[in-house]
């Protein structure tokens, strides 16, 4: 009896534990943040939050140039980093998707950057990027180029940070792409080979399209995380020099924990959420067009 009932209701029994778990943990924060975004409060123990309606939102859209610049920067950084990671990640997956000596070791090593603590990596890069004492400029000088400013100039800071992000997160794309390649069926390749297709044609017409669903998911997650990048920017430049690497997440952290502007920070968090949600929905649509 129970098994028949379970069988009929399987479609919600299966996901129920996950949904309940997630819902329990995110409901209160969502409610709290939304509520706080409609108030003005400076974390005082003496006076409570003051209701001001949508004034915070009005300010971030119309009155805060710093926020608008942060939005542009966030999108730019994300596009740059994720594009580079996807190209490199897929290339590496294709390269390593074969039998070769040292395969296991190499693949394990390749995922290491993602495994290291972002804060520690950021600090190691801080010293590597030091303009006069750092090894990065030393290597650059060996190749005959003039030293870069890396994170020490408002022109180059964002790119230097993107480089750290690419270094650290390309393995994520590679890992998912490898898993995807491992699940590819043999028949299309056999058929293509019989038809005389080259490797490149097989790659373009078979591999990549079949990889696309998994790849889009990987890009989706990278994009979400890149839009919210915090650790490396915080440790390496704190949004500087002169705010040239200040993204929305850094700005809203400052608003909350440096300026104690709780309500304003909450409204920025909601705005960031909307931005990331928007980007995600676009990517989900892209993915949907390939499968469902």
């Amino acid at each position: 009896m129970l098994s028949r009932w379970a069988h009929r209701h399987a479609s919600w029994l299966f996901p129920a534990p996950a949904v309940v778990l997630v819902a329990t943990i995110i409901v209160y924060p969502i409610a709290y943040t939304g509520w706080m975004s409609l108030h003005e409060w400076f974390a005082s123990s003496l006076t409570g939050p003051r209701f001001i309606g949508l004034a915070n939102y009005g300010k971030i859209v119309l009155g805060d140039a710093r926020f608008r610049e942060a939005v542009v920067r966030t999108l730019y950084f994300t596009t740059l980093a994720v594009a580079a990671e996807t190209l490199l990640g897929v290339a590496m997956a294709l390269l390593f998707n074969r039998e070769f000596w040292g395969r296991g070791l190499l693949r394990t090593l390749a995922i290491l950057p993602m495994v290291a603590t972002p804060t520690a990596i950021a600090l190691v890069f801080v010293m590597m990027y030091h303009p006069t004492l750092g090894v990065a400029n030393y290597l650059v000088s060996l190749v005959g180029l003039s030293p870069f400013r890396w994170t020490y100039s408002s022109q180059t800071a964002l790119y230097a940070l993107a480089l750290v992000d690419v270094w650290q997160w390309t393995p994520l794309i590679m890992l998912i792409a490898l898993a995807g390649l491992a699940s590819l069926p043999r028949e299309p390749y056999e058929a293509a080979h019989l038809d005389g297709a080259t490797h490149l044609q097989a790659l373009w017409h078979i591999t990549l399209p079949l990889l696309r669903p998994a790849l889009v998911v990987a890009i989706l997650f990278r994009a979400i995380d890149a839009l919210k990048t915090f650790d490396i920017i915080f440790v390496m430049t704190q949004g500087g020099p002169a705010n040239s690497s200040e993204t929305i997440n850094i700005l809203l952290f400052n608003q909350a924990f440096s300026y104690f502007n709780m309500g304003y920070s909450a409204s920025m968090a909601v705005a960031l959420f909307a931005l990331v949600m928007g980007a995600s929905l676009i990517l989900i649509k892209v993915r949907r067009s390939t499968t469902w």
């Binding site: 996901p15 534990p17 996950a18 949904v19 924060p29």
Partner: protein, 277 residues
Amino acid sequence: MVRGGARRRWLSTAGFYALAGLFMLPTVFVFYWMITLSLKPQIEATAYPPSFVRFSVTLAGYREVFTKYPFFLYTWNSLVVATGCTLLGLAVGLPAAYSIAHWRQQRLAVMILVARIIPGIAYLIPWYIFFRNLRMVDTYGALILTHLIVGLPIIIWVMISFFEDVPPDLEDAGLIDGCSHLGVFWRIALPLVKPGVVATAILSFVFSWNNFLFSVILAGRTTRTLPIAVYNMISYEEINWGTLAAAATLITLPVLLVALLAQRHIVTGLTFGAVKQ
């Protein structure tokens, strides 16, 4: 003819290793740098031109990490939380992913994604209030639950793609044969998506291992995790580069060991040409 073919093969193999080496160079270099930094005395750590191979070795950095902090406790805590979070994530996430793939429950998938999209900072104060009222601050439970927010969405979303690739005919055949949905899931679908399970388990473990923000707020002295130890190497007036690099190396080490031990599974999980019917 034979010689030409052999030479072409040798070139392509050499080319392969050259290319592989090129790709791996940045990775290897940064870690090499981190490890040598952890072995150098402070004065050489910031020296210029930098010393790559010839430098005085000191274990002072490692000594300081172990004496200043209960490093084994932190490692244990990180291990417990990351493993717990991954196992729980797989236990609830795999069925959910299967369901969403099988019954096309798009909206549920998006709802789970929302947890990952919310900026981490928005969680801090409400979670602290929430867990404090439940007297769960400084417990493994609070940390595992909150780290789930980072791991579960990726487990579910990546696995959806893999479950979608399972041929529906196989599933229907199973159902016709009298299998319950659970049976189809367990005996037919799951074995076919092993590569994905391996990949997402690794990712979930890694994300939990490195999570810093939530641990600062919710962990106490008994449950403190490793990333905090790294951050504490920055004091008011100096950064102990040797100790910092030592801490960073030690944090990466356990995951590397786990990865090496599970290497065979990783390899079979991610092997080219997993046969599908």
